[in-house]
Structure formats: C-alpha cells, structure tokens
Symmetry: C2
C-alpha cells in the first residue's frame, strides 16, 4: 500500500467523529446543507498527520481521534469560506456548498462548522492547549486568505481591495502567504498530535517544523502543477491561477524573477487583465516555459522536504516516523 493510501485509511477513522460533532447540534432542516462538504470526501491526510504525529511522539492514534477530527474540520471550514470568497463552484469534482445552497446558507454552514470544532476540541484531551492552537491556526488561515486576496492583480471590484492591492511580485510575500494558508494548518496538525501525546517542547517543535515545511513543499509543487501539469491528472483546468490573476503562485513568481523587461511586463499585464482568455493563458505559459521557473520551484520544494526530514531526526525511529518521512517525500514525487 502506498503511503498516501495508508494515510487516507488512517485519516478516515476520524470521519464518524467529524460527522457526529457537525450534526449533533443542528436542526433537521439544516442537515443537508451541513453534510454536503463532509460528503465531498477528501484525502484525509490532515487527521492522519495528527494521529501519526501522536504515535511518533509516544502516544496512541486513538487518543488523538478528537484532535484529528477537529483539524480536518478546520480544513473543511476553510474550504467552505474560501469557496464563498473565490466564488468556487467545483471542488473535488463536485459542486461546492455555496453552488448548491447559495452563499448565505454556505456561510451559515461554515459558522456552524466552527462550533463543531470548538465542541470536539472541548471534549479532547489537553483541550485548553488545543483551543489556543486551533484558534491561532484559524487566525492564520484567515490572514493567509486576506493576503492572497490583496495579492490578486485583478478580478475584484471592491474599492477597498483595489486600494490596498499589492502590485509588486515578491518571493517573501509569497512565502508568508503559503506559511499562513498551508504551512500553519499542517504544523498545527502535527503539534496537536504531539500535545495529545504529552510530548516535550522539543518533540512538539520538531514535528511542527516537519509538517510546516512539508506542507509548504506540497503547496509549491501544487502551484507548479497548476501551470505545467496535465488537465486529466489535475482534475482541473491548467493555468487556473493565471485566470484568477494570482501573483501568489511559486512558478509565476520565479518566472517573473527571470524574465527581462518586456516579457516580464507581458506576463504581468496578463495577470492584470480583468478578463483573461484561453489565448492569454497559453501565452503566459509560453512565456514561463522560456524560464527555469519549473525546475527552480521544484528544487525549492525538494529543499523544504529535506529540511522537513531533518527536523524529524530528533524523534525515535518508529513505524510512524518512517511513514511521516515517506509522506514528505511523496509530496515532491508527484507526477508532472
């Protein structure tokens, strides 16, 4: 069994707990709205990460079950509100909650998910520490989404956003957005496992560093696949980030770093068009292909994975720690 398959299997053991907490305080009429996001499934890597981190830190998978359910619910919560903000209609090949039930109901569903999270955390071992961790993590996701919005180069009509928009490509800004949007939740998953296991500060930090770095590597590869992947394997359109005017994509930023005056302006001007055509996307990808952005992005992801693996070395060797190592490796061996 591949490491991803094994992790999905572990992660899925948190599903009944997630469902229980989402539904137990809900009116019968609200249930179909609330279950829509749960029914969409997912790879369940985050709850698996919580449970494996707990095991790697000397605890058991079972005692981390509620923390694992909480963390996957945080992920689901963020997906519902991301889709509201980005007007997302399809996710995991299925219509989003907002597409089926409208924005108002999707918003209420998200707010309800947050309470399911509070309740499952309250019932978990080490709940006070976990409440703080979960809260800081969601704050970080919200900040990441905010920064991502103001880093889009077009497509939003609100006066405020147009006024504060960041127009300068910057790898530092990108790293900060990825740390907030992807790294922080992965880090929190591993830390939650360590907290439940009662691990030392050193072990908790090692697991957190590992997961944050692996998560950031995953995101960089994901960005690169958005531009250079194959539609059939991606399950979504190639160049979606270009269509969405995003500067917050590793490959786009590295291409802009290499391109000279006119060609750099050409790529930027496509990102800044209110309506991006298929021809624009093809032209942008053509420009990017003249640079080494793909290899450089991939190297940067690989470097993060090596640092992630190194962080794990303070832990005692175990089945769990080996699986975590393999998980990080799998993030940079995804098919291009």
């Amino acid at each position: 069994m591949s490491v991803l398959d094994e992790l999905s299997e572990i992660g899925r053991t948190a599903e009944p707990t997630m469902r229980e907490y989402v539904l137990r305080g809900a009116s019968p009429e609200f249930r179909e709205v609330l279950t829509h996001q749960l029914d969409a499934g997912g790879k369940m890597l985050r709850p698996a990460l919580v449970m494996l981190a707990c095991e790697a830190a000397g605890g058991s998978r079972h005692e981390a079950l509620k923390a694992a359910a909480a963390m996957e619910l945080v992920h689901n919560y963020s997906l519902i509100f991301d889709d509201i903000i980005d007007r997302g209609e399809i996710r995991r090949g299925k219509p989003t909650t907002r597409k089926v039930f409208g924005d108002s109901m999707a918003l209420l569903a998200a707010l309800h998910y947050r309470e399911a999270i509070a309740q499952v955390v309250n019932d978990s071992p080490k709940s006070a520490t976990l409440h703080g961790l979960v809260s800081k993590t969601i704050e970080s996701l919200v900040e990441g989404e905010r920064a991502d919005i103001v880093y889009e180069q077009a497509g939003r009509q609100e006066d405020y956003i147009r006024r504060v928009r960041l127009r300068e490509p910057s790898w530092e800004t990108y790293e900060s957005i990825v740390a907030h949007k992807t790294g922080s939740l992965m880090e929190a998953c591993a830390e939650a496992g360590a907290i439940v296991a009662g691990a030392s500060e050193k072990i908790r930090k090692a697991l957190g560093d590992y997961a944050r770095l692996a998560g950031e590597a995953f995101q960089i590869v994901d960005d690169t696949l958005d531009i250079f992947g194959e539609e059939a394997k991606l399950g979504k359109k190639v160049g979606k980030d270009i269509a969405e005017h995003k500067l917050g994509n590793a490959a786009i930023l590295l291409a802009l770093d290499e391109l000279d005056g006119d060609r750099r302006e050409a790529l930027l001007s496509i990102l800044r068009k209110e309506d991006v055509s298929q021809g624009d996307i093809d032209r942008a990808i053509g420009l990017m292909k003249t640079t080494n952005c793909r290899d450089r992005a991939f190297s940067s992801a690989r470097e993060k994975v090596e640092m992630a693996k190194k962080a794990l070395k303070v832990l005692p060797q175990s089945h769990a720690s080996r699986r975590l190592t393999e998980l990080a490796e799998s993030f940079v061996s995804r098919e291009f």
Copy 2:
C-alpha cells in the same frame, strides 16, 4: 442615572479587553477592517448583563470581565455576518463593515472575531464550561439566522431557499426564531456571569431564565416599534421588516392572526412581493392598525417581563439583582 445608562457604563469597562483580543493576533494591514465594528459602539448591555449576573450570583464584576468581553464579541460577530447575509449597509447610524470594505473582507473580519472570542474565553476563569456555552450559543444564533431567512416571504433568489421557504404564519415558529436569535445570547450572558461566580445550578438557571425572557420581551417590543414607532426615535425607517418580507415579526404575525380572509391575503401578498413600495408599506401598516396586534404584542412582552422578574426571586436581594429587575422593566417601557 437611568438603569440603561448605568449598565452602559458598566458594559463599557469590557471594551479595552475586546479590543485587545481582536487586535493582538491581527496583521497591521487587517486592523482597520477589524476595528470598524468595534468603533461603531453599541449600548453594551450584554457585557453589563454578564458582570451584573456574576455580582448577583455572589461573584465580582471584575472576575467576569473576560467572559463579558467574549459575549459582546459574540454579539459583534453576529452583527457582521448578519449584515453580510442581509446586505445591511447602515447599522447604529454608520456604514457596516461590508459596506466599507466589501463582503469578502467583512467575512474574514467575522471569522477573525470568532478566534478573538475563543482566545478571551480560553483566558477566562471556568474556560472549559464557557467554551461549551459560547459554542452552543453561536450555534443557536446561526440556526436563528437560518430559520429567519427561510421565513422571509420573498427577496432571495437562491433556488434552495425558494424551495425550503416556510409560507405559513406561525407564532410557534416565531417564538423559536426569537429564542434562537435573541433569547439564547441574553441567556448565555447571564449564565456566563453565574458560571464565573461559581453559582449553583439553581441560581444559574434562574439568571438564565430571567435573561432569556427579558431578551425575548425586548425583541417583541422591537418588532412592534418597527411597525408603529416613529422614524426619528427609531433611527431607522418604519416598516423595515415589511420591506424585508419578514414573517418573523411579532406584530405582523398577530395582525395576520386577527385579519379575515381578503385582508389577511392582502397583507400576506405585500410581504410576498419582490419589490415592496412605500405605498405597500403604508397599506400594510394601515391593515395592521385595524387589529389589536400592537396591544397584544405589548401584552405578550409584558408577560415575559413579569416571568423574568419572577425568575429572579430565587436570588438574594442586592444592588445587582435590583438593577436586573429594572433592566427588564425598561424593555417594556420604551416609548411608542
């Protein structure tokens, strides 16, 4: 000093704590969005209720300060998301967060407020119990908002909402919406004070019952003023609930209960018009004036206030308990 003025003064002592928790995890760029709702002010009755309930139950105002800040933040959180859902542009005479910064930023601000709440609760005495209480309360506010939406008779284009819309006037449905949207938060404020004071279950329940009933009375009077009040005193347009197609208004429901066949249909058909004109509003109010709905609504509020005062009788007499009694009375002596 009037009881409302005294309570506002007590409530305002929670303001610095609210601001501290909202701002401490926020990026500098996010601050202007986050402070907008706080700067709008408010009567601060909810934090005063937390602190007076704590005092009435034998504790001190000071130890309830964080719980009080949390509860007023819950109220502010609900105002931001209510305005997103109802496209509200003005509140307390000022433009709403969504009006100034757009829906996406307002949504992110609301999500951030929820984390400020989690953090201030986590730092409060009796935090585990308060986490559970706050979570159940927000769940209730969300359910109330959901039920309120499906009880509107027009004005939303989403297929899902049109499909599940409730078309039958029902006092029972109304009571349930008011309990969820207004009663539950008031009840939770008083319970939070009792919890921090370490009060017995009996005292906690008495304070909770008192506040829920008083809150429901307040809402019924508020509904009645929406129809029969004076614009200058209300600070908003008379008949706003009619313009917003709401069945969830005490006076409207009681009028429908009294009106006979054709006149009942006439009032319902105004609520069901996609575009409600000033003439429609005047006509609806004219129809309502032929009934006793105003007196009946007022009697129903007065009855709840009497029950609220009765609930308080299990508490020892104190300055705090007298102020709570006067507060409930003030809700039904508002000027018509």
